[in-house]
Symmetry: C2
Subunit: 381 residues, 2 copies
């Protein structure tokens, strides 16, 4: 298996910035990956995603294996060609959505059998099948091992059993992945909120030799503060020369605090989901364009974000579009939020490179303190 | 009132091509106006509408007066600035949607009182109020007189009463419009299917001195053949030096046959409405991308239409997007259809200019014969 070259150009405290080089292009880290759930970052053209500053997007194995089907995507030339995204792409393993969306799932030691939330049809995912779907059929540049997601909260006994199962599946995933020149595979640390389990999991996953390591089991209702604690208890056990990825995270405040703790990669549906519901993220926190106070506000969303969506549409017009249920309202707000998240990542990369990250962090953490998720404030992907 | 300069550069049979010059730009005729119902051509960016080849778009007085409100649009700088369309814009009078959408409408000799389909609030439109909304508050380049739409079919007695009311309202509209340098007003011919009433209406409207004349009361369920007959009985009574506009029309076959009869302007929601429902119009007629036969069809919608939507998205991908209810499916198909209708208009303009219109008409009418609307196949705007 190829570990993509990861060049860390600057450290600032625990935060670091660099470039992960893939055959399909460079990924500037810390990186936020827009989520293209079913082969499309919802309500955006791929050109807009690229121009917003995204180097890599994420595709969902669960959604794509159900519709249009992984074998069909392969026959159509793979997910890059199918969805017109030529840059790097990461796919998840499907495990999280099996846990969050599917019906009648049955776990066993070898995998999980479940029914589609779309049509009730029965499907099965194993570590090897997930790798086949991601790497062989969809053609992901970065695949994720299949892991098990436990409910939150979760007993120590259950968390330990599950963590060990995920470790075993990691090994099976590596075996299935084998040796590849142009693709890589990331492992996933589990262990719920338990420091001993997170440490054991991180050390074991680090020893397995993945091209990168994700911290799983976050964004499941634990809240901002617990998320930070879990990252704190995990990162010291991860190798520093591999990218670290926190899955399903998150709000801007989460990104800032996770970067401060040495995380390199993120994904979340928040920018596009919030956009479809009329919410725009700004340097002062989120605003909802449905609110009557924007009805005659001619100011743009944010002139400092280098994106037409942020600069050229008045809040009054967006208020009208969202109130009227017009597609364009969702389109522009999803586009703006996508660009805003990328602008945030760029500010963090620049601050780390110039050794001013703590100043930026203090500013943003103060601005966004009110947005910290309380426990059980779940965003399902 | 300014009659915008209308330079007819070529005639081919009854068909003609030219340029209607407005202070906000030139309109190449025959022209198809995409409909921006509530201040947005649904699911399109204005740049896409422009690049698709549209010189002018239409805004709906009924929708805009209810939400966000005409006075509010004025305070926000007028409809052009509000909706980011800097080219020419035509607004309808609101009369058609009062007839087709509103609740509890009560007609009287001076206007119509109705309840909003959105919130049940009561509103009133008179000829003068419609002009105020269109020309003063929204800032339309071309306003339409308020007219009455009769049900279809309709007795001769009722059609005559209604036609005379519309004539009276045309006079009141002209009085309210007064003398303007940079805006113009179109009158509307009514008379249902009755040749004597259409002739009388056309002659009277022609004598009133409008900047252009619309044939109203079409696209209300009369079907393709009756639409052609109504145009045939009306056009001979219209001045040749003013633009002729058929409102709410239509399918490509309707456009071809109406252009053949000397019509210069059209509007219809069909391109975007069809697109949202998975339908793409092509030179071979409409196709529905939901159909299973497109699931692995890698061909684009139409390489000959100069638009990214038509050239760069595979039918297989669009099939997947539409089946999955993804915004991007509706976005790309609405964009393609908008470009296809503009490409059709360009082909007709070119054919008229080169005196080959009858050849094009014969080809397209044969291709699209199966798409002719039967009576009562109504598209409400």
């Amino acid at each position: 298996m190829a570990s993509f070259p990861f060049d860390i150009s600057a450290n600032d405290g625990a935060a670091r910035t660099g470039v992960l080089s893939t055959p399909r292009g460079e990924i500037r880290t810390p990186a936020f990956m827009p989520v293209g759930t079913a082969g499309t970052v919802k309500a955006l053209y791929t050109d807009q995603v690229k121009q917003a500053g995204a180097d890599i997007i994420l595709g969902n194995t669960y959604h794509l294996m159900l519709r249009p089907g992984a074998e069909r995507v392969q026959r159509l030339g793979g997910l890059h060609a199918f969805s017109k995204w030529s840059g790097p792409m990461l796919t998840d393993s499907g495990g999280f959505q099996v846990w969050s969306l599917s019906q009648l799932r049955k776990m066993d030691a070898d995998g999980v059998t479940f029914r589609s939330h779309i049509d009730g049809s029965e499907h099965r995912l194993t570590p090897a099948r997930s790798i086949e779907i991601q790497a062989d059929l969809l053609g992901a540049d970065i695949s994720m091992q299949l892991d098990e997601c436990t409910d939150y909260p979760c007993s120590h006994e259950e968390a330990e059993r599950s963590m060990k199962l995920s470790l075993d599946w990691g090994e099976r995933s590596l075996d299935a992945f084998g040796s590849r020149d142009t693709q890589t595979l990331f492992g996933i640390v589990q262990g719920s909120n338990y420091p001993d389990l997170r440490a054991a999991s991180a050390q074991a996953v680090a020893a397995q030799g993945f091209g990168g390591i994700a911290i799983g089991g976050l964004a499941v209702g634990e809240g901002h503060d617990q998320m930070c604690r879990t990252i704190d208890m995990t990162v010291p056990h991860l190798p520093s020369d591999r990218p670290r990825y926190v899955m399903g995270v998150g709000k801007p405040i989460d990104l800032v605090e996770a970067v401060a703790r040495g995380i390199d990669m993120f994904d979340c549906v928040l920018p596009t989901r919030a956009g479809r519901h009329g919410q725009a993220w700004t340097w002062d926190g989120p605003i909802n364009l449905k609110n009557a106070r924007f009805a005659e506000d001619l100011s743009p969303l944010d002139e400092a974000v280098p994106c037409l969506a942020s600069q050229e549409y008045s809040k009054a017009y967006l208020h009208h579009l969202i109130r009227s249920g017009e597609y364009l309202g969702s389109m522009v707000l999803s586009w703006h939020n996508t660009a805003f998240f990328q602008a945030l990542m760029q500010r963090m990369r620049d601050a780390i490179a110039s050794a001013t990250f703590e100043t930026l962090r203090a500013d943003l953490s103060a601005r966004w303190a009110h947005t910290k998720s309380a426990p059980k404030d779940v965003v399902k992907n």
